[in-house]
Amino acid sequence: MNKPVSHIAAADLAQSQARWEQEFAAGAGNPEPLHNRSGVPIKPLYTPGDWSGAAYADSLGFPGEFPYTRGIYATMYRGRSWSQRQLIGLGVPEDYNTRVKEMLALGASALSLIPCNSVFRGYDADEVPAELLGTCGTVINHVGDMERALDGVPIGDLSTAMNDPSPFTLLAFELAVAKRRGVPWPRITGTSNQSDCISHFVANHMFFRIALQGARRIVVDHIAFLNEHVPAWNPLSIVGQHMQQAGATPAEAMAFTLCSAIQYAEDCIAAGMDPDRFLPRFTFFFDISVSFFEEVAKFRAGRRVWAKLCRERFGAKDPRSWRFKFHGQTSGVDLTRQQPLNNIARVTTQAMAGIFGGLQSLHTDSYDEVFSTPTTEAARIAVATQNILREESHLTDVIDPLGGSYYVESLTDQMQQKIEAIIDMIDAAGGMYKAVEQGLVQKMIGDSALAFQKRVDAGQETVVGVNKYAVEEDPADYPSLEYPDRARMDAQIDKLKAFKASRSAADVDKALTALAASAQSRNENVFAQVVASAEAGATHGEICGTLRRELGFGQPLTIV
């Protein structure tokens, strides 16, 4: 145990502090009190009076041990760097395949797939207006498309994150491809990214296809299926990013995410699953804003709160179940259209905050994401940013380097208090599902978003190049990706038609009937039928359409 500051030294400290406060007031006057985005008051100076090492053993501990404040692994980045997982998604499967191979050659160690918005909404390419196809993600409608997207990619050796909300058809297509190639499912690793249906109900509704309670059930079925058949896959990625991007403060975003996680964990326990089986595969996905220290503190606090929840609330016994594993993405909402190259500096700051926050995998935005899907050059800079931080700035040489900072520790504690207060509020409302069905969460997020925008408009929050340091710019000078070639899209739709013509209509029909029946039943595993349908050649639109009919069309509740 650390020696407390001695009695005589304490008196000196108090005197010195008073002296400093006088000098500060003389120099800086009485400035307006500052707050971070979560509303925590920020002082100009932090000292042992705010946090002293006496608390080390209880509240910090060592990396890899409860409560994991300093990191979930003993080795952290000294053992293994965070994964550089850059989002990729554009055009047709062949375009995706080309970009994937470029990224792998540049050193990206894990893959990600973003499908086209039409896919997010649950439709096939021939069911939607042609203008909206393939501009933000890849069009993948069936196992054949997935084959072409992953052509020559060693799926048994790489981790793939599928941006693939309930009912997880993209994963089903990948599993079907694995089966065709003879890659056993236990070798398939990755994450069902953004599988958190609650976050889609509340914010970024694009992913929300099936009515909330139906989506809830499929999430649990999917976890159960993967636990048994694809044990190296993380079925759940609980998302704080959407809510923070929708305007939730960092503390709110962390708290709401943990509340959603509590519901999923409790649903799994109610379904008879052992916490020590499913918790190690719960992962999280967060936004990282430019509010540097606040983000670091948010992640450290989140790690601590989650560890306590797992051990005490869910009763998990295995230390591996208590680990808060998360992917961070630099926040697109902080980026500006004005002077876009400034975004490179912003992304660097955000990435550093995530790294000091102890993330397990990181996506850095390209500077031109404000215009459209990134150009090759901009995507390259985003990856290089991570490489520079790791290998030139040596940010990985020391584990939790900001630990012990009077400010960071004090801020971590205060962020934790805010987070826990919100969790208590949601518990009092009956849990996250009830809270979002009543619109309570949506209202809080909307209020925070409005408050922030008003501060920006009033000049109380600076946005460089927008409300300060602005210059005359010609928007026509900005680079942008051309929209996908319509001819390529038409070819893609032709391939879809050919695929449908070539498959066994009887097999598909049988599979979809079984899928509908499983949705109507109370105890069949719906996801198992989604996989079977994918293998039988059913398309994404057909699978989603069937489930929408059975379980209800997803309509989020929006509150102004």
């Binding site: 009543q438 309509q555 509150i559 102004v560």
Partner: protein, 395 residues
């Protein structure tokens, strides 16, 4: 649509754009308003106007949506007036009610119009009545007026309806007593929504028992149950609505309706009633029911309800009944006998009935009972002197 038709003819032909613009004209009292009123006024009376109100969160919009589905399945055209509250500070409003009826947004046989409660010339009820008239003249079979029911103006709005539904979610518990008394007494039927929830039976029982205290009503309003998400109870509800004969009741007030309106206004203008927390439960010509919850201000030094408070409650019912015919009636003699001590927190219900009435004098009997067990608490008999002057209110 015949291009040569005038806007007024277009309204009567049901042209959607003309209907919408006519509503705007009336809503904003534009120069075109009087012409619209004249055209429309001669063509109303055909539609069945259903008012739907109830506490927020009660599932009203979901019920209305399910109701529309049933009506459409039976071939009715449906218009909806969705009343949303305006901000008292900014005058702005988010018209969110219609959004909750999402499934009907694309149906050509359904027309939904939002109406914000902002300071309408002539009041919100009149504005809603205008919108209803346009829909009626345009030929819609059923017109639903939906309000939040949280304020007195919303209660006023549902008075324009032929049939008034009050929607109660289960689990209100004690809050049933808290549903505005004015709302309760106007209901033609109660609907327990979300009836698949565990508290539904209890809520139904509480409503039924409260309704039996409303003695003196010609017809006891039914209590129906629905589960809007599955459609359970909707067929029965629409069948019941179909049996109602609404024609003309909206436009010409019946005697009882006039009496009800007068009594409601009277208790609202009564300072003493406010002071004691007296609430109107039911009224018609010559009889009223008033209730009071025994609070700290009503108890004596023995911690029981003060006899004076019981007298005041009974006298309120008596006075309202006496005045319900329209002329001023003043108590000249009253005698109370009290048979039970009443504890803090109990609800007391006073029901006044007319024993006799001549040109100058009327005699009333008021029975006061305890709501929790219907035990008899007191009996007041009183005589009122009738003046030749009508009851008038300071506006």
């Amino acid at each position: 649509m015949n291009a040569a038709a005038t806007p007024l003819e277009a309204i009567l032909a049901g042209d959607r754009r003309a209907v919408a613009r006519a509503i705007t004209a009336l809503e904003n009292d534009s120069p075109a308003a009087s012409g619209v009123r004249a055209t429309v006024g001669a063509h109303v009376g055909r539609a069945h106007v259903i008012g739907v109100t109830g506490p927020p969160g009660g599932g009203k919009s979901t019920l209305v949506s399910a109701l529309i589905r049933q009506l459409r399945a039976r071939g009715h055209t449906v218009a909806v007036v969705a009343v949303d509250p305006s901000s008292p500070f900014t005058g702005g409003a988010v018209l969110g009610d219609r959004i909750r009826m999402g499934e009907h947004q694309a149906d050509e046989g359904v027309f939904i119009r939002s109406l914000a409660s902002r300071g309408h010339l002539g009041g919100l009820a009149r504005a809603a009545g205008d919108v209803v008239d346009v829909f009626d003249a345009a030929g819609f079979d059923t017109i639903i007026v939906e309000t939040v029911g949280a304020g007195q103006s919303e209660v006023e709005v549902t008075r324009i309806a032929d049939t008034r539904l009050v929607v109660c979610p289960p689990g209100l518990g004690d809050d049933i007593q808290a549903i505005k008394a004015g709302v309760l007494e106007i209901a033609d039927a109660f609907v327990v929504s979300k009836a698949d929830l565990p508290d539904a039976q209890r809520t139904e029982n509480e409503l039924l028992s409260m309704l039996t205290l409303r003695r003196g009503q010609a017809v006891t309003p039914p209590v129906l149950r629905t589960v809007a998400t599955t459609g359970e109870g909707l067929v029965e509800l629409v069948d019941w609505l179909g049996r109602r004969t609404p024609r003309g009741t909206r436009r010409g007030a019946t005697e009882d309706q006039a009496a009800r309106d007068l009594v409601a206004r009277a208790i609202g203008a009564d300072g003493y009633a406010k002071h004691l927390g007296l609430e109107l439960v039911a009224a018609q010509r010559g009889s009223t029911t008033v209730r009071m919850r025994v609070g700290a201000q009503h108890v004596n030094f023995n911690n029981r309800c003060h006899g004076g408070a019981i007298f005041s409650l009974a006298d309120m019912a008596l006075g309202l009944a006496g005045n319900s015919h329209g002329n001023i009636a003043a108590l000249i003699d009253g005698n109370i006998s009290i048979s039970k001590a009443v504890e803090l927190g109990e609800w007391l219900v006073a029901h006044a009935t007319e024993v006799s009435r001549s040109r100058k004098v009327a005699v009333y009997r008021v029975d006061v009972s305890r709501a929790s067990d219907r035990a008899h608490v007191a009996c007041l008999s009183g005589t009122v002197y009738l003046l030749d002057k009508p009851v008038t209110f300071k506006t």
